[in-house]
């Protein structure tokens, strides 16, 4: 496997154009409710990607938006909705009425999504678990198979390895080679980076390689696994990024109201996605004042560790 030592920096438009064709399976929202790559999801919509398979434990409202925009053929996830406000109306319309198009649901639990990615990251065809025994998640998901343990003979579930075509992962900071530092709750992000065939890294900040290399224990996503690095400040809004901005709770509730009816959602989509050229346009629409209310009010720096000798 060859690594490229030139810079991997691309614009979001270039990265999506180059690495996420229609029909791809895409892992997003890997860190759960923080670090959700909304900017990348919106670019997928603008570039009119079709027949995507979305993979993730939960996605907060990002998957609902992509489903409503008609980009999605299949969802392999544990949960799709609006974490603080309730259901995802686009998910309901797609699955109940086929609007704007039918979407196939392959239901997992959070842990079985995590284990499917962990299996791919470990390079084995499956991992065993006791979770989902007795459930219809197990009964209906073809990638979960009941079997007898070769050790001890007890009933277990085999979770088939899941290797997304591409993982789009938002992080706090990275160098131009894609060596990345992320912190806070990381959900399945680390295994996701190792499970996927390609990684598009989206970073709040691009820093000198020396900053990343000063703390290799935090470099859980090494650049050798990364195909493209996109510098996209505020690219995770309205989800939070620890140390950079908080969660824009109101935005989630506004979306909830404005996605209840199809027509209202189409207006929302035009306003926030189709009607802006890129993330800069989105941020302009969001406004500096609103961003100001979400910024860091009190820093809380980690204590350093010494790699000296």
């Amino acid at each position: 496997m060859a690594i490229e030592q030139n810079s991997k920096l691309l614009t979001m438009g270039e990265a999506i154009a180059r690495y996420v064709p229609s029909g791809s399976s895409v892992l997003m929202g890997a860190a759960m409710e923080q670090l959700i790559p909304f900017a990348a999801g919106h670019e997928l919509i603008r570039q009119d990607r079709r027949d995507l398979t979305l993979i993730g434990p939960i996605s907060d409202i990002l998957f609902d938006q992509l489903i409503g925009a008609g980009c999605v053929a299949r969802v392999e996830a544990a949960w799709v909705g609006n974490v603080s406000a309730g259901v995802g109306y686009n998910l309901r319309r797609a699955t109940e009425q086929g609007v704007p198009r039918p979407v196939e649901m392959i239901d997992y639990t959070n842990f079985t999504v995590a284990l499917a990615l962990h299996a791919a990251a470990l390079g084995v065809p499956f991992l065993p678990t006791r979770s989902t025994l007795g459930s219809d998640v197990l009964a209906r998901n073809p990638h979960l198979v009941e079997f007898r343990s070769p050790v001890g003979g007890e009933k277990l579930v085999a979770v088939e390895a899941l290797a997304p075509d591409v993982a789009i992962l938002h992080v706090q900071r990275a160098d131009a080679q894609g060596n990345a530092h992320a912190w806070g709750g990381l959900g399945v992000q680390i295994d996701g980076a190792r499970a996927a065939r390609r990684v598009i890294l989206v970073a709040e900040e691009i820093v000198e390689p020396e900053v990343i290399a000063s703390d290799p224990n935090r470099t859980e996503i090494p650049g050798m696994l990364v195909s493209a690095v996109v510098h996209e400040p505020w690219g995770a809004h309205p989800s939070p990024v620890q140390g950079y901005y908080g969660r824009d709770h109101a935005f989630f509730h506004e979306y909830h109201e404005r996605s209840r009816k199809r027509e209202d959602f189409e207006n929302w989509l035009r306003e926030w996605v189709l009607g802006v050229e890129n993330r800069a346009g989105y941020l302009e629409r969001l406004g500096a004042e609103r961003r100001g209310t979400l910024g860091v009010r009190e820093h809380a720096w980690s204590a350093a560790v010494d790699f000296g000798y």
């Binding site: 860190a31 544990a78 639990t109 962990h118 678990t129 998640v137 806070g184 990381l186």
Partner: protein, 267 residues
């Protein structure tokens, strides 16, 4: 994510507390001191804070996004990944590191919500049915994992006849299955399973066959009203009591952390 919990209604009672506050207090009392708790979202977020402050100071909170907290977050949370829940945490990192403790059998109690529950405590939060139509719900999130792997679970639900049903149409999160020794026969740990269903009308518990019965009614709620709003012939405990009202101390903590009543719809 464990959504589908009741949007606890903003029905102020004569006693000066909301139904949401009553449910939070009842949920808090399900947490014993020193226990490891899979906290979940919405009302249980507050219940954990109440328990920690009042009667379970050594409880540990586990969050499936990859967070463990011995000291609870200092602020109201909308989601478990809100920055106040990550700063100062005991651990932040991978979901698998937290879920593996659950699978080891270390987690004493987990809180769950759902769109439907049945008499054996099985939960549906995936595919519902309303007026003959299929309804797509958000899905399991971590609920199915907690239902399978925690020592015991506590369910929070709005009490409506179409939500408390004889048999759920889809088992997202297994309770006692079809009752009896179903859980151990299916491969789940013997002795695990739902401990209580806290509804907007009362508290249901389970007998040794895994069948639910009404253990207490909330203040001002009639037994007949509960039975009429349950989709199966609900048995009533011989020693049926009234769910204790939240104490002043409990209300104090709830209102300190949720002054706007976002989760408890305080009037």
């Amino acid at each position: 994510m464990r959504l589908g919990e009741p949007q606890a209604e903003a029905c102020a009672t004569r006693s000066g507390f909301t139904l949401g506050e009553l449910m939070v207090a009842a949920a808090a009392r399900e947490i014993l001191d020193g226990e490891w708790v899979f906290v979940g979202m919405r009302l249980p977020l507050l219940a954990f804070l109440v328990a920690k402050r009042l009667h379970a100071p050594r409880a540990v909170g586990l969050y499936e996004n990859g967070v463990i907290r011995v000291d609870p977050a200092p602020e109201m949370l909308y989601t478990m990944a809100d920055p106040p829940n990550q700063r100062g945490a005991t651990y932040c990192g991978e979901m698998t590191r937290v879920m593996s403790l659950l699978q080891q059998g270390c987690v004493d109690v987990g809180f769950l919500g759902a769109a439907e529950v049945d008499r054996h405590g099985n939960l549906n939060s995936t595919w519902g049915r309303r007026d003959g139509q299929v309804v797509r719900l958000p899905g399991s999130g971590g609920a199915g994992d907690i239902a399978c792997l925690a020592k015991r679970t506590v369910v929070l639900m709005a009490h409506q006849p179409h939500r408390l049903v004889e048999r759920v149409g889809y088992v997202t999160s297994p309770g006692y299955g079809t009752g009896g020794d179903w859980r151990s026969a299916i491969g789940l740990r013997a002795g695990s399973g739902p401990a209580a269903i806290l509804t907007t009308m009362g508290v249901l518990r389970f007998d040794e066959t895994g069948d639910a019965y009404l253990a207490s009614v909330h203040p001002g709620v009639a037994v007949g009203q509960v039975v009429a709003n349950t989709g199966w012939k609900l048995r009533v405990a011989a020693d049926l009591g009234e769910t204790p009202a939240p104490s002043a101390a409990e209300l104090g903590v709830i209102r300190e952390f949720d002054p706007e009543g976002f989760w408890t719809r305080q009037p």
